[in-house]
């Protein structure tokens, strides 16, 4: 269990910048998930922490000790790879004990520690098997076991569930949460799956283009995103974004028009709206949009198709301006009408400027 601090870390491969000025402070025992689209730099950041990549600039501290120049094996980190990276010619026990063997530990101690980790992960009966004789989930557990045996200060997981089927993924997620509780270890987990991030993390780091977009608790990111990227990335189905123009604003409100290309307008409570802003993007999550009667504050939507999932139905449509729109309906079955009107819950509306920055009301 250890605290991890990343200070102004940047990483380039030649002239290609991958990470830019990353600053994070991860508390001891915390489960932090790095999430972002492919190529956003999340795996590079993880590999930089563990020492498999060298940072171009900045410092990394584990338990207050600068580890930039410390060998990867001596940083006190253990990594679970996406491909599991199990040695195919070694048995499960040999795989799990390899790090201790390299450290020159006596065989009896290796056997004990491997046995303890195997008990935690219910691998006792598989210790003499080779990786080729294991299922995906079992391989995953062995890879985690190899990390546990090393008793690291920080566990690093690089998309460890991406090779598993959907059912096994859900099961392994629950096992990881349970493992984190039992070990109470600092864990960093990389994924591109925001559902995985939301379910596992104490806090989430959203990365895009090598830049930290937001670092916070899952529901804070969901409810209070700092920018359009985070708003769109976190949540499934994703947030709807509708272009709108600012018709007028006052000290405690703003009135938007041409919402989603429609002729409807909407007056929203908003303290100290910047009058220089003439165009905004209105963000609304599917659960904050509801089908209703035609009215001045509802936007017409043409429904293209419905996803009837049983407990909930998602209606996929388009506004008059062509913006895609998803509406959550708690009614099990959709009647089938195509022309609808959608009203917004004012508390669920988030506004962004044209550069994607969140527009926040003045709290004072």
């Amino acid at each position: 269990m250890a605290e991890l601090e990343i200070k102004s870390v940047s990483k380039s491969f030649g002239s290609v910048g991958v990470l830019s000025d990353i600053n994070l402070k991860i508390a001891s025992g915390e489960f932090v998930v790095f999430v972002g689209p492919s190529g956003c730099g999340k795996s590079t950041l993880l590999r930089t922490i563990t020492g498999l990549e060298t940072e171009t600039a900045g410092d990394i501290f584990i338990d207050g000790k600068r580890v930039n120049d410390v060998d990867p094996a001596k940083r006190g980190t253990a990594m679970v790879f996406q491909s599991y990276a199990l040695y195919p010619h070694m048995t499960v026990a040999e795989n799990m004990g390899f790090g201790l063997k390299m450290a020159g530990e006596p065989k009896a101690i290796i056997r004990d520690k491997v046995g303890q980790a195997a008990a935690i992960l219910r691998l006792e009966k598989l210790l003499e098997r080779r990786p080729g004789q294991l299922s995906g989930g079992q391989k995953q557990r062995v890879a985690i076991g190899r990390a546990i045996v090393r008793n690291p200060k920080v566990f690093l997981f690089d998309e460890p569930l991406s090779n598993l089927d959907a059912e096994l993924r859900v099961q392994m997620r629950a096992e990881l949460i349970d493992l984190h509780r039992r070990l109470n270890a600092t864990m960093i987990y990389v994924t591109h799956d925001q559902v995985e991030a939301m379910t596992l993390a104490d806090r989430i780091v959203v990365l895009n283009g090598g830049i930290v977009q937001q670092f916070g608790r899952p529901l804070d990111l969901y409810d209070d995103p700092d920018n359009r990227f985070v708003a769109g990335f976190i949540g499934s189905p994703k947030m709807n974004f509708l272009d709108a123009v600012v018709l007028e604003s006052g000290p405690d409100h703003v009135t938007l028009g041409k919402i989603g290309g429609s002729d409807r307008s909407l007056r929203l409570p908003f303290r100290s709206f910047d009058p220089s802003i003439k165009q905004v993007v209105l963000g609304i999550r599917p659960e904050h949009a509801r089908l209703g009667e035609s009215g001045a504050d509802s936007v017409p939507v043409i429904i293209n198709f419905a996803e009837e999932l049983g407990d909930v139905t998602y209606l996929h449509g388009k506004t008059p301006g062509g913006s895609p729109m998803i509406i959550r309906s708690d009614k099990g079955r959709f009647g089938g009408q195509t022309d609808c009107h959608v009203a917004f819950d004012p508390g669920g509306i988030r506004l962004f400027d044209n550069d994607g920055r969140r527009l926040r009301a003045d709290r004072n």
């Binding site: 563990t50 498999l52 990867p72 094996a73 001596k74 980190t77 253990a78 990594m79 790879f81 491909s83 990276a85 199990l86 040695y87 195919p88 010619h89 070694m90 390899f98 790090g99 390299m102 450290a103 080779r130 190899r146 090393r150």
Partner: protein
């Protein structure tokens, strides 16, 4: 119906089958027949039972050739593979121009005709003015007659054969190295394995199937060693094997008995003894592999 359907398949196999029958099958069968006969190609073959086999196995030259072969194999195969692996690891650590340069440079001896390789090395080993003796001279060491001193001849040959074969094995091992997933090395690095330990615990086990091929092929090639010692010693069918038969090998001995002494029956028996040794050895290798492969 079935035969008619397969007719085109048989037709396509036929040219190869005919050539194989004419140039492989017939010589093998007739060779086996003559191995039990006294035959010099000019006179009628006379059945003599196992006398040819007995003559070969009891001859002093056969014992010498086999002894030379044993020493040669025991050193050449492991040394050749160790050198090839070292070169492959070296080339693998480079990228771009230097990787291509070293790969081509180390492969060059493989494409050299044997006579050219032997000529180069005869010059390198030449007493007094040869490159090797020149280098020895720089360190104040006396000149050595590598190809005429019975104490050095075999080792001089081994050096040439390692030089010639290393490039071929290197290319095969290099292809194997490229197939080892990088994350295994990264996992080993995180596990605290040094570069040497990564070679010991990751590279070599992961190369096992390719090493099996390289070792088996190396042994089979070594059992048939002929051209380089023949050329290094300037042998002919009547005088071969170098000074005091220090570079006498089975294939060379077989050729001498056939085309020098004109005892074709004895030479074919020699060939079948050698074939038996090669088959036996290959079977042992496959057996070992099956035993080592996890169930």
């Amino acid at each position: 119906m079935n035969a008619r359907r397969h007719l085109p398949h048989y037709a396509m196999v036929l040219p190869f089958a005919l050539l194989f029958a004419a140039f492989f099958l017939y010589p093998i069968i007739s060779g086996f027949y003559y191995s039990f006969h006294d035959w010099n190609a000019a006179t009628e073959a006379r059945f003599i039972g196992l006398a040819n086999y007995e003559a070969v196995l009891k001859s002093r030259d056969f014992a010498r050739a086999m002894t030379n072969l044993g020493i040669y194999i025991a050193i050449t195969v492991p040394l050749g593979i160790a050198v090839a692996l070292a070169l492959a690891l070296l080339v693998d650590s480079f990228t771009g121009f230097w990787a291509n340069f070293f790969r081509s440079a180390f492969f060059l001896p493989v494409v050299l005709p044997a006579f050219l390789a032997a000529t180069i090395w005869r010059w390198m080993y030449a007493p007094n003015f040869g490159l090797v003796n020149m280098v020895l001279g720089w360190f104040g060491m006396p000149s050595v007659n590598f190809l005429n001193d019975t104490g050095t001849m075999l080792y001089a040959l081994i050096a040439v054969d390692v030089w010639v074969s290393a490039g071929f094995n290197m290319v095969i091992l290099l292809a194997g190295l490229k197939n080892i997933p990088q994350d295994l090395y990264e996992a080993a690095r995180l596990d605290g394995a040094s570069r040497l330990q990564q070679v010991r615990y990751v590279t070599i086990p992961m190369l096992a199937p390719i090493l099996f091929f390289v070792v088996t092929y190396g042994f089979i090639s070594a059992l048939q060693v002929f051209d380089v010692p023949w050329l290094l010693t300037g042998s002919s069918f009547t005088a071969y094997g170098g000074r005091r038969n220090a570079l006498l090998f089975p294939v060379m001995d077989m050729m001498g008995r056939a085309f020098g002494a004109v005892r074709f029956g004895e030479a074919t028996a020699y060939g079948f003894i050698l074939t038996f040794v090669i088959i036996l050895f290959t079977a042992v290798m496959f057996g070992l592999r099956a035993w080592r492969t996890p169930k």
